[in-house]
């Protein structure tokens, strides 16, 4: 069965410091991996995706993510956090086989809090 785990409910970071939000996955075959961000009372906004190729993926707003196949991880990173990055972050996986369709399987989410 496909699944995604975000082991931290909350991550606290000081503004200007690097941040990491962790994600591990379990899926049959090669995974398609995504990160989304959700601000209060809003829908999810796409940040970045890993399909194939370079293990370091760059996305919106200065975020990047590192794909590690041996550790089945896809951690989200940013070199210097901003207060405006404070939000709820979701990792998601989609199976790459046709019969698995396009549905996304999300983790539980990680609340990122960046303090001035």
């Amino acid at each position: 069965a496909q699944s995604v785990a975000q082991p931290e409910d909350q991550v606290n970071v000081a503004e200007g410091n690097p941040l990491t939000v962790k994600c591990t996955y379990s899926v049959s075959g090669n995974p398609y991996l995504f990160w989304y961000v959700q601000y209060p009372n809003r829908g999810l906004q796409f940040l970045l995706k890993y399909i194939t190729g370079d293990n370091l993926v760059k996305g919106s707003y200065g975020f990047e993510a590192e794909f590690n196949k041996s550790q089945t991880s896809f951690h989200l990173k940013k070199p210097s956090a901003l207060v405006s990055d404070s939000a709820l972050y979701f990792c998601a996986v989609r199976g790459s086989s046709y019969n698995q369709g396009g549905k996304l399987i999300f983790g539980q989410g990680t609340e990122l809090s960046v303090k001035p």
Partner: protein, 116 residues
């Protein structure tokens, strides 16, 4: 150039009433998804349309839930005889892909449903 639009943004209903939630996807998007997001949780897949065809409805929790997309554009999620456990945010997403490739899904801001 509008994004995915959902209406109403908030819906309060008494237990036992029927409700209908509307989704206007991004123009030209082939794929449309519905997700249910309970408080403090990640979104969970409900159903998927490719144009007007409902290709996957494996996530619908009961036969009280029904979704349609008759002309391949606007979609409606209907919940009959609502129960308190139906209280959640219902998210709609659309994508240019046919569901099996790597295009990101674009989310609306959701409908927050509260059942009294």
């Amino acid at each position: 150039g509008a994004g995915v639009s959902q209406s109403p943004r908030y819906k309060v209903a008494k237990r036992g009433q029927d409700v209908a939630l509307r989704c206007d996807p991004i123009s030209g998007h082939v794929s449309l998804f519905w997700y249910q997001q309970a408080l403090g949780q990640g979104p969970e897949f409900l159903t998927y349309f490719q144009n007007e065809a409902q290709l996957d409805k494996s996530g619908l929790p009961s036969d009280r839930f029904f979704a349609e997309r008759p002309e391949g554009s606007v979609s409606t999620l209907k919940i009959q005889r609502t129960q308190q456990e139906d209280s959640a945010v219902y998210l709609c997403a659309s994508s240019t892909s046919r569901g099996e490739d790597n295009q990101p899904q674009h989310f609306g801001d959701g409908t927050r449903l509260s059942i009294l």
